[in-house]
């Protein structure tokens, strides 16, 4: 089953993707897959990390057009750094989400990227914000995004329980991304994880052969 067109050569690089962030008492767990595709047919990178650190304890996940996502993320890093220097203290997660939203909303006609902003701050602790494509911001206990997220709505609705521990959240996140990668052909590769708590941020990478295996038919 192959196609003979070469449209992918002129297609934009997109992170057809699966991203997820979930909050627990004490921190957040953030995860993504690692595939960047062009035209839905060519995998232009199989090891890209879509979990970007925008500040010491604030991360954001990218989805949609990779160029747009990177441009916005870099602008946010710059602005957040400046804001934090002016305030003289680490920025709030809500500030990062707000800055992200400003860019997404003001340029909503030109951009095509969605984000999840998650992290820890001293005022409200662990938070997860979903900053979707037009610039809407919603704070939630957990959120999923990207093309692969469609396939795991049922799974995360069924499996999420308030009051999970850090390890349970890591398992929840890894399972969700694996299931999405199994069904979405523009998500794949390895699972990138980041865990942010009061004491700092820790990154983790789970290679393809260590991912959970679900029943196959």
């Amino acid at each position: 089953m192959s196609s003979n067109n070469n449209e992918w050569r002129s297609a934009a690089v997109s992170t057809g993707t699966t991203i997820i962030a979930v909050r627990y008492d004490g921190g957040v767990v953030i995860g993504s897959d690692s595939r960047a595709s062009m035209g839905g047919e060519y995998v232009s990178s199989r090891v890209i990390n879509k979990v970007v650190q925008v500040h010491d304890k604030i991360f954001c996940c990218m989805s949609g057009s990779l160029a747009d996502a990177q441009a916005v993320t870099n602008a946010v890093i710059h602005k957040l750094n400046f804001h934090s220097m002016q305030m003289g203290e680490p920025p709030l997660v809500q500030s990062a989400a707000s800055i992200m939203r400003e860019f997404c909303y003001n340029h909503r006609d030109e951009l095509s990227a969605g984000f999840i902003v998650a992290g820890w701050d001293r005022k409200k602790g662990a938070q997860v914000f979903d900053v979707s494509m037009g610039g809407m911001v919603v704070e939630q206990e957990f959120t999923i995004g990207g093309s692969g997220s469609t396939y795991i709505y049922g799974y995360v609705d069924a499996k999420f329980k308030p009051g999970m521990t850090r390890q349970q959240c890591v398992t929840f996140t890894t399972n969700a991304i694996t299931l999405a990668m199994d069904r979405d052909n523009v998500s794949g590769g390895v699972v990138h994880l980041a865990v942010v708590t009061e004491s700092g941020a820790e990154r983790q990478l789970i290679p393809g052969n260590k991912l959970p295996v679900f029943q196959r038919i």
């Binding site: 469609t150 709505y153 049922g154 799974y155 609705d157 069924a158 038919i217």
Partner: protein
């Protein structure tokens, strides 16, 4: 509700944006569906039973264009009737699925419907066949319809081989409930049909009796 929007249904066609599922257990099958029929943005029937009998112990689950799916089911029901008289015994589930597949494949450009065929016969017990786009594939379980995309992850994770009849019924109910809460084109009540060697059991689970999950 303005009259204008209510009349849009005619041009958009009745669509069963839907969630359908069928799963096999040792000795039979369980089929499930939601009950919403939409025309554009309006719900024209909120209690439609999309599980349609093709023969005594063979049912099919309808999705896609309501007219196309119902017509295929009626034609196959007639063809199966004739076939079972010719062979002098109850038809095989595979025969029913093949008849559905033949119509879906031959008219694949004109039709827009996906039927999942499931039932019980004496030769191979419970069987589930998917006939999407004109293929014929026997599977331990199959999901279909617009709502199915949201529950692929859930069914991949939760399915275990060798589940009992009750576990299958619970699996189907949970899957339908999750899909109905996320898919705008699925909703209403859940219909379940369980077929085994003893007979056919039809059940309807009302909206407020469906299992609830995390609702942000």
């Amino acid at each position: 509700m303005q009259g204008g929007s209510a009349c849009d249904g005619g041009s958009k066609g009745l669509k069963m944006g839907t969630t359908i599922i069928a799963i096999e257990f040792d000795g039979g099958v369980v089929l499930g569906s939601d009950s919403r029929v939409s025309a554009g943005e309006s719900v024209v029937n909120r209690v439609m039973n999309k599980l349609s009998p093709l023969h005594d112990k063979i049912y099919c689950a309808l999705s896609g264009s309501a007219a196309d799916a119902q017509t295929i089911a009626e034609i196959v029901s007639y063809q199966l009737d004739v076939h079972s008289i010719e062979v002098g015994q109850d038809p095989l589930v595979r025969s029913a699925a093949t008849l559905v597949r033949n119509i879906s494949y031959k008219y694949k450009e004109e039709l827009s419907a996906h039927l999942i065929v499931a039932g019980w016969d004496r030769r191979d017990g419970g069987q589930v066949f998917a006939t999407l786009n004109g293929l014929l594939s026997r599977q331990p379980f199959a999901v279909g319809g617009s709502g199915s995309f949201y529950v692929y992850g859930f069914v991949d994770a939760e399915y275990k081989p060798s589940m009992t009849k009750e576990e299958c019924q619970q699996f189907v109910t949970n899957t339908l409930s999750l899909a109905m809460s996320r898919d705008g084109s699925s909703g209403g009540v859940a219909f379940l049909v369980t077929i085994d060697d003893k007979g056919v059991e039809e059940k309807c689970i009302l909206g407020n009796q469906l299992p609830t999950f995390h609702d942000p």
